[in-house]
């Protein structure tokens, strides 16, 4: 019979559509997202742990992951260069930990403008275009440290806080949490804060001077990994392990050894592995259309490890990386 022309065209179109539809349904899931992880450093234990977490998430979500970071934790320019490399590589998402709150902002804005999803972990950057933020709740970490001092059984507290640069947001938040918890406990407390550069030797010397100037100090707090190591070594070298309650951040192996010798009373273990993992996971989920509230930090939990229970199964897990 005679078929009208539009009829025939419709039929052919339909067949094509059907075939391509089948093809499309088969092909779509194989696309891999290109994710860059730009850290503050590639050598420290903290970041290596974050990278292993990121790699696990990479395999789990079938992503293409590029990990990079500057040689020193001050080189924000190298970080910016990496961001532009990621843009040139048509990255879909970047996991970023900022060395400089202000100096990395422009590069991050440029990346976000290029359509790249940016997930900040651990350290913030001054950009409104970040899609998600993941890291430690520093105020809560400070409060956890304070709880050790409060439970130490002193009638009144004389506290030495070894904090890092005044401009560092993380450090200020930790100290603020610590002070707030002490105030709320109602125990009389005198607090001396020193701000030192993040270097173990400097921290050790400064802490020694503080301890010598104020021998009445019964609690010492080191608010990041190098400062905790420095302060703990100062306590150990002055032989104050029995009389001073030393509280440190992070799980540097020297701190752990000093804890075994009784010089460190408590450590607040962050979870860099979780940061790396959740950072990459967030990238994947953002790219799949999920949305995060960038103004709310997604908390990676910290674990308080006490000297007495440092080899309990839970503490072992918090203190010692499996890798």
């Amino acid at each position: 019979m005679k078929m009208s022309k539009p009829f025939r065209i419709c039929l052919v179109l339909l067949l094509c559509l059907t075939l391509t539809g089948c093809q499309a349904a088969r092909v779509s899931p194989s696309r891999q997202y290109n994710v860059w992880f730009i850290a503050k450093s590639t050598s420290t234990g903290f970041w290596r742990s974050a990278f292993s977490g990121a790699n696990v998430a990479k395999s789990e979500y079938n992503l293409q992951l590029t990990i990079c970071g500057p040689d020193t934790e001050e080189d924000y320019e190298a970080q910016n260069a990496f961001i532009y490399d990621a843009i040139a590589d048509h990255a879909d998402a970047i996991v970023f930990s900022s060395i400089s709150y202000t100096e990395n902002a422009a590069a991050i804005d440029a990346a976000a403008d290029a359509g790249i999803k940016v997930v900040v972990i651990d350290s913030n950057v001054n950009s409104k275009k970040v899609s998600a933020r993941i890291g430690t709740d520093n105020v809560a970490a400070g409060k956890k440290a304070a709880s050790v001092a409060i439970d130490a059984g002193y009638d009144s507290l004389v506290i030495g806080i070894v904090n890092f640069d005044l401009t560092s947001r993380n450090g200020q938040e930790r100290e603020e949490g610590f002070r707030t918890a002490i105030k709320e406990s109602g125990i009389g407390a005198e607090i001396y804060t020193i701000n030192v550069v993040t270097d173990i030797e400097v921290a050790k010397e400064e802490t020694k001077q503080l301890l010598l100037a104020h021998p009445e100090i019964n609690v010492i707090v080191g608010l990041n990994e190098p400062l905790a190591v420095g302060a703990a070594e100062a306590v150990a070298e002055l032989g104050l392990g029995d009389s001073v309650t030393m509280i440190g951040m992070d799980t540097n192996v020297r701190c752990i050894d000093l804890m075994r010798t009784g010089n460190v009373s408590a450590l607040i273990a962050q979870n860099p592995y979780a940061m790396g993992y959740m950072g990459v996971e967030a990238c994947y989920e953002l790219l799949e259309g999920a949305s995060y509230d960038p103004d709310v930090w997604i908390d990676t939990p910290t674990i308080l490890v006490l000297e007495e229970t440092m080899f309990s199964p839970e503490s072992q897990r918090a203190l010692f990386s499996f890798e």
Binding site: M1, M3, F7, C10, L11, L14, L15, L17, T18, G21, C22, A24, A25, R26, P29, S49, S52, G53, V56, E60, V253, R254, I256, D257, R260, N271, Y273, A274, Y277, M278, P301, F311, P313, Q316, R317, A318, L319, F320, S321, F322, E323
Partner: protein, 571 residues
């Protein structure tokens, strides 16, 4: 009113589409079910195979360690002198062995051998996770510990499992413990996958995870393994909720290999993908079948509709219906052909019927022509008789001649069409006779174009009209009337007319004359003349009457120029 029956194309369309739809859905359902079942079966088989392989690998690994233990026991129990050297070499070739420690019967640490690290005695004395003196009774057989970190060294805390075994020596060493790195198992276990996202891990009987590809994820609280459930499972393949667990216990060991496959993830995803692909093609097929059925129904119903239209047209006007065969499927074409035959037959029948009717009518008319009005004949004969009595012989002869002419022309040897000249003679004879009958009441004359005389015309066309003019026009007129008979050429036609200046007629009278089959007297009437003209020559010919009361009547007779009788006579 009765509900209209559904159209055929709608019926066809609906039935085709619903059949296709039901078939598609059924197929989809069956395919998906079969697909899912085969996927599950697939995952179960491949999972079991994978876990089986891994089990053998781990059994080999354990037996390897046991052989090492045997060798070490040998060395230790025989107190070979170059013990240090032996351990140096041993730890070099077995990098996964972090430390070898020996203990006395009470569990006191005697020796520690390690590749790169020196024991910190005070640390070891304070905490030794590798050997717990209070659990010595557990160590009577070979014992494999849960994973823990090594606490013998400063600044070095690797995750290990400890294998402890009693030895029997004379010199006091009672236990030997091997710390074996957990992460060393990663080579064997990490890359063993089951399906897309399944994996294997190593667990002991107490539910401690010895090695998991995502151990750090579990330690970081980012992942959870349902340890309580899994440790309660027996060996085999167990489908539990959304997961399939493959459990196998290693021979002569407390370790179990656990394979995990997320049925929901793997299977549902592929089933959903499959379903999506199926759905897309199903929609395609549906649309295609929609189009196809639309086309098929159109192919079926369009010629049907054409046929119906043709039938309706035939119904309305059977005479002028000209049949065009309808194109379509063979069945339709056959129906159409039959209809065509039927149309032909019917038209033929109608035609025959009409011809028969005409013939009948002609015969009837002829019979009428043959009739002689007895009054006319009686009156004429009366007049002749009267003339003879009066001795008006010449007039009587003339009258008889006229009568004879009248009859002769009336008969015309059976011809229907006669030359106009004869017809005019007939009319003249009639007028002659009547002018005697109606003496002094009218005069008559003829105005005839000579060229027309040879054309043929129906016989006895003028006489009934003249009769009418006399009876209804002249009769009853006080003064003398006049009848004019004209014959004029009108293009290809001839226009005859009979005029009188008599009483004239009203519209009603004209109507009654034109419609009345017979005048009250016998003989052919005006209506019959008119009918006959139309029967012979067609509808545009015939009689028209113009009449004005008290002024006169003019009757026109239009007929074609006929030269041959044959063309009309035997119609």
């Amino acid at each position: 009113m009765k509900r209209k029956s559904p159209r055929m194309n709608l019926l066809l369309l609906v039935s085709m589409i619903s059949t296709v739809l039901i078939l598609l859905l059924l197929t989809m359902f069956l395919v998906l079910r079969a697909y899912r079942t085969s996927l599950v079966a697939n995952v179960r088989t491949s999972g079991s195979r994978t876990v089986g392989q891994l089990t053998r690998i781990m059994e080999d690994y354990l037996s390897d360690i046991r052989e090492n233990m045997d060798a070490i026991s040998d060395v230790v129990s025989h107190d070979i002198v170059n013990r240090e050297e032996y351990f140096d070499v041993f730890l070099q070739i077995r990098p996964e062995v972090i430390a070898v420690t020996t203990y006395d019967a009470e569990g006191n640490l005697l020796h520690c051998y390690s590749a790169d690290h020196v024991i910190n005695e005070s640390f070891a004395a304070h905490t030794n996770l590798s050997f717990d003196a209070s659990k010595i009774n557990l160590y009577e057989e070979e014992y494999i510990s849960a994973p823990h970190v090594v606490t013998l060294f400063e600044g070095y805390y690797p995750w290990v499992v400890t294998v402890i075994r009693p030895i029997h020596t004379v010199i006091g060493e009672a236990w030997i413990a091997l710390d074996i790195s957990c992460t060393n198992l990663s080579n064997d276990i990490d890359d063993v996958g089951i399906g897309d996202r399944g994996y294997c891990f190593l667990m002991d009987m107490d539910g401690n995870i010895v090695y998991h590809p995502q151990q750090q994820l579990i330690y970081s609280d980012l992942k959870e393994e349902n340890v309580a459930l899994i440790s309660s499972l027996d060996d085999g393949v167990i489908e539990e909720g959304t997961s399939i667990y493959f459990v196998q216990t290693l021979k002569e060991s407390t370790w179990r290999i656990i394979g995990v496959s997320y049925v929901q993830d793997v299977i549902s995803n592929s089933v959903i993908n499959m379903a999506r692909a199926l759905l897309v093609s199903a929609i395609g097929i549906l649309l295609a079948s929609l189009l196809l059925s639309a086309m098929v129904t159109n192919a079926l119903t369009r010629p049907m509709r054409d046929l119906i239209q043709a039938m309706e047209a035939f119904e309305k006007d059977a005479d002028h219906f000209s049949y065009q065969p309808v194109k379509g499927t063979r069945e339709i074409e056959e129906v159409s052909q039959s209809f065509g035959h039927m149309v032909g037959k019917i038209q033929q029948l109608v035609e025959t019927e009409r011809n028969e009717e005409i013939t009948l009518r002609k015969t009837e008319l002829r019979a009428l022509q043959a009739q002689i009005n007895p009054h006319f004949l009686y009156n004429t004969l009366d007049s002749i008789s009267w003339m003879c009595e009066q001795g008006k012989n010449a007039e009587a002869v003339e009258m008889v001649n006229a009568l004879a002419r009248l009859f002769r022309i009336s008969i015309s040897r059976g011809h229907e069409l006669i030359p106009l000249a004869d017809e005019l003679k007939h009319a003249e004879s009639y007028l002659q006779i009547q002018s005697v009958r109606y003496r002094g009441q009218f005069t008559y004359r003829f105005e005839v174009e000579e060229s027309l005389l040879s054309y043929l015309c129906n016989k006895i066309t003028l006489q009934p009209i003249i009769e009418n003019a006399i009876y209804h026009g002249i009769n009853g007129l006080v003064e003398e009337g006049e009848i004019i008979v004209k014959a004029a050429e009108a293009g290809d036609d001839i226009l005859l007319s009979v005029e009188d200046n008599g009483m004239g007629m009203t519209e009603e009278q004209i109507d009654s004359i034109m419609k009345k089959a017979h005048s009250d007297k016998s003989g052919i009437g005006i209506k019959n003349v008119n009918d006959r003209l139309k029967i012979y020559f067609g509808d545009r010919y015939g009689i028209t009457i113009d009449s004005v009361p008290d002024e006169g009547t003019r009757v026109h007779i239009l007929m074609p120029k006929v030269t041959e009788e044959a063309a009309y006579e035997n119609v």
